[in-house]
């Protein structure tokens, strides 16, 4: 599979040592193994330096665990937001996009694959429910990345209700 000139980044984040918080990283690692043409990154959380990372790509898919998304997952478009709600040493996807736009004059199309999690204890490995959700989310992402294009990503986000 070749992504051509359409530069895509799959960015999974979370702490794999806190059970379902590791969903994003797990999915990103699977994508990295199976889609060598797709850029993949992962970290504990998003932060300011990711604005620089995003400045050179066309589309990003943030993959993260969610406390309250629909089950098994939601896929939605993210727009830059000046009305940021981040509170800590980490940032939300819309804040990173906004920072990217302000500092580098552009930002990629951005989507969030929010996978529902249930357990956040101090252990490795996903809960049974999260594991099932993660598998569904991975299959969805795998299909989407077979022929990545701006239109395909947009349509997938528009069809969110039918996905779930």
């Amino acid at each position: 599979m070749d992504s051509g000139e359409f530069k895509v980044l799959v960015y999974g984040y979370g702490n794999p040592g806190r059970m379902d918080d590791g969903i994003g990283v797990e999915i990103a690692e699977r994508i990295e193994r199976e889609f060598p043409g797709i850029a993949v990154d992962s970290n504990y959380q998003l932060n300011v330096e990711d604005a620089y990372r995003l400045s050179g790509i066309d589309a990003v898919i943030f993959v993260d665990a969610s406390l309250d998304s629909g089950e098994p997952f939601e896929f939605r478009r993210v727009e830059p937001s000046l009305n940021i709600t981040f509170t800590t040493h980490s940032m939300l996807p819309d804040s990173v996009l906004s920072l990217c736009a302000e500092l580098y004059g552009r930002h990629p199309d951005a989507y969030v694959l929010a996978v529902r999690g249930y357990s956040w204890d101090l252990n490795e490995g996903l809960s049974a429910g999260a594991k099932a959700n993660s598998e569904r989310a991975y299959e969805f992402l795998r299909d989407l990345l077979q022929n990545p294009s701006p239109r395909a990503f947009k349509d997938a986000a528009d069809d969110e209700k039918t996905i779930n």
Partner: protein
């Protein structure tokens, strides 16, 4: 009617915190408390695990400062494998770990100043929170925001090169380190294209200090009089009294600068430090046993480190240190907002240390690991960005951990943070019947000075709204705000 004002959680600090300000019938502050939901489950979780897992396992605690936990645990495990403390490692082992540590310190201090503190300085405490943040800095002061982004990135790259991975790094192992620095990595950090090279990082660190000093010249009244209270201070120092963020002996000074803990071996920290439990807080209150629970509390972190150290062993930071010390005529500095000043001097020192280490040939060759006669117990300390971090493990005959005790930086700062909150709340809430954004933010600024990492919480989408709740003396909610 008496009111209770609750700010939960505190914005722009990690984890979950809640500030409760109890008002009396005359609308004056009668009591302020910072409640922190500290995660204490790790000690139990570690029990029964092999000791050699600890340096990796502890990184589950926190996605903000995993390197500090990684290194503190590794230092404790060094003692267990008979490699001694700190200076007992091979030159390569110690210096690679130092490079990792100063990289962590550099990126953490840069992030804190440029993206958490500078909005308060640039826009003022009363500014609309919609612009008083990193995006606002990007809009109005793009050069500063870019510097913050790239300094953070540089530090993260140093961590990646030494720890091996962004998540759950494995660089520090029992008795040493698992890799050398490569020539390509060294060249990249020393001679990378602007701005990602160490000389630019040093230049920008000096620029950040100049920015703060210029701001101070125009706003000395605010910076010098915001949450000022006498405190003892504790940190590691090198055996000759130099600032050392990775290894040394424990020193504490009182509010006048007199040594009250005189360069002791931290393997014996339990002889000197106790932890008090208070009914209203989940977090313990550490204290110096020699002074007792009431008077033995102390401050850790950048302000404390520059109060305990005699000098800084890098030239540019030492020059700044001399001017900093002259401002208080050599006495300990108790001004909470000067925590930012001290942090920026440490930022510059960290950049200088990184350059010094990158030019050291020991990073690219030599033995990586040292081991000796196994011990049953070990204590590891580092100066984390937020202050002194203690890890203590005891093992059984099957190499399983039977006891773990951690005192994290934010716990060490529990009492001073409460005092800072109370100081500011009394100044801004007394006699007020309406809570403004600026009043709330001033309380948060006092906490933010300590750069606390409140609970090593997970961050999953959906967490961390800000809720402000007013509760009267009968426990009724009279107002509630979210943002």
């Amino acid at each position: 009617m008496a009111r209770k004002i609750t700010i939960e959680p505190v914005t722009r600090v990690e984890g979950h915190g809640k500030v409760t300000i109890q008002m009396d019938d005359n609308n004056n502050v009668s009591q302020s408390r910072l409640h922190i939901v500290e995660f204490r489950g790790f000690e139990r979780f570690a029990q029964g695990r092999p000791y050699w897992e600890m340096p990796v396992l502890v990184q589950r605690l926190c996605g903000i400062c995993p390197v500090s936990h990684h290194l503190a645990a590794a230092k404790a495990v060094d003692v267990i494998v008979g490699a001694g403390t700190g200076e007992g490692l091979t030159p390569t082992g110690e210096k690679m770990r130092r490079l990792m540590h100063y990289g962590q310190m550099f990126q953490s201090h840069a992030l804190h100043f440029f993206h958490l503190v500078s909005p308060d300085l640039l826009f003022g405490a009363d500014a609309d929170p919609a612009i008083r943040n990193v995006i606002g800095v990007a809009l109005e002061h793009k050069d500063l925001a870019v510097q913050g982004v790239m300094m953070r990135k540089f530090g993260q790259e140093i961590i990646l090169a030494t720890a091996g991975k962004k998540i759950h790094g494995t660089g520090a192992i029992p008795g040493g380190i698992n890799k050398h620095l490569t020539q390509a990595e060294k060249d990249s950090f020393l001679k990378g294209a602007d701005p990602l090279n160490i000389d630019k990082m040093i230049e920008w660190s000096q620029g950040a200090l100049d920015f703060f000093k210029s701001y101070h010249a125009k706003n000395a009244d605010m910076l010098d009089n915001f949450a000022v209270f006498p405190s003892s201070h504790l940190s590691l120092v090198r055996k000759d009294g130099a600032l050392d963020l990775y290894h040394g002996v424990l020193r504490a000074v009182d509010a006048e600068g007199k040594k009250i803990l005189n360069d002791v071996d931290y393997q014996e920290y339990l002889k000197h430090i106790g932890e008090e439990v208070r009914s209203w807080s989940y977090m313990k209150f550490p204290y110096l046993k020699s002074l007792g629970k009431k008077d033995g509390w102390y401050t850790v972190g950048p302000l404390a480190r520059l109060n305990t150290a005699d000098f800084i062993p890098t030239p540019l930071a030492q020059k700044e240190f001399e001017a900093y010390k002259a401002y208080t005529k050599g006495k300990p500095n108790h001004m909470s907002m000067h925590m930012h000043y001290a942090r920026l001097i440490e930022l510059l020192h960290s950049a200088e240390m990184i350059k010094q280490l990158l030019n050291d040939p020991d990073l690219m060759k030599g033995e990586l690991v040292k081991k000796g006669v196994k011990q049953k117990e070990g204590v590891g300390l580092v100066e984390a960005p937020r202050g002194t971090l203690f890890h203590h493990y005891r093992i059984d005959d099957e190499d399983k951990v039977v006891m773990a005790n951690l005192i994290v930086s934010t716990t060490n700062n529990n009492e001073p943070m409460n005092r800072a909150v109370n100081y500011v709340a009394s100044k801004v809430f007394n006699g007020k019947s309406e809570i403004t954004e600026g009043m709330m933010n001033r309380v948060e600024m006092a906490i933010r000075a300590y750069d606390p990492c409140l609970s090593c919480a997970t961050h999953a989408l959906g967490q961390m709204p800000l809720e402000v709740e007013l509760v009267d003396s009968m426990g009724n909610t009279v107002d509630k705000k979210n943002r």
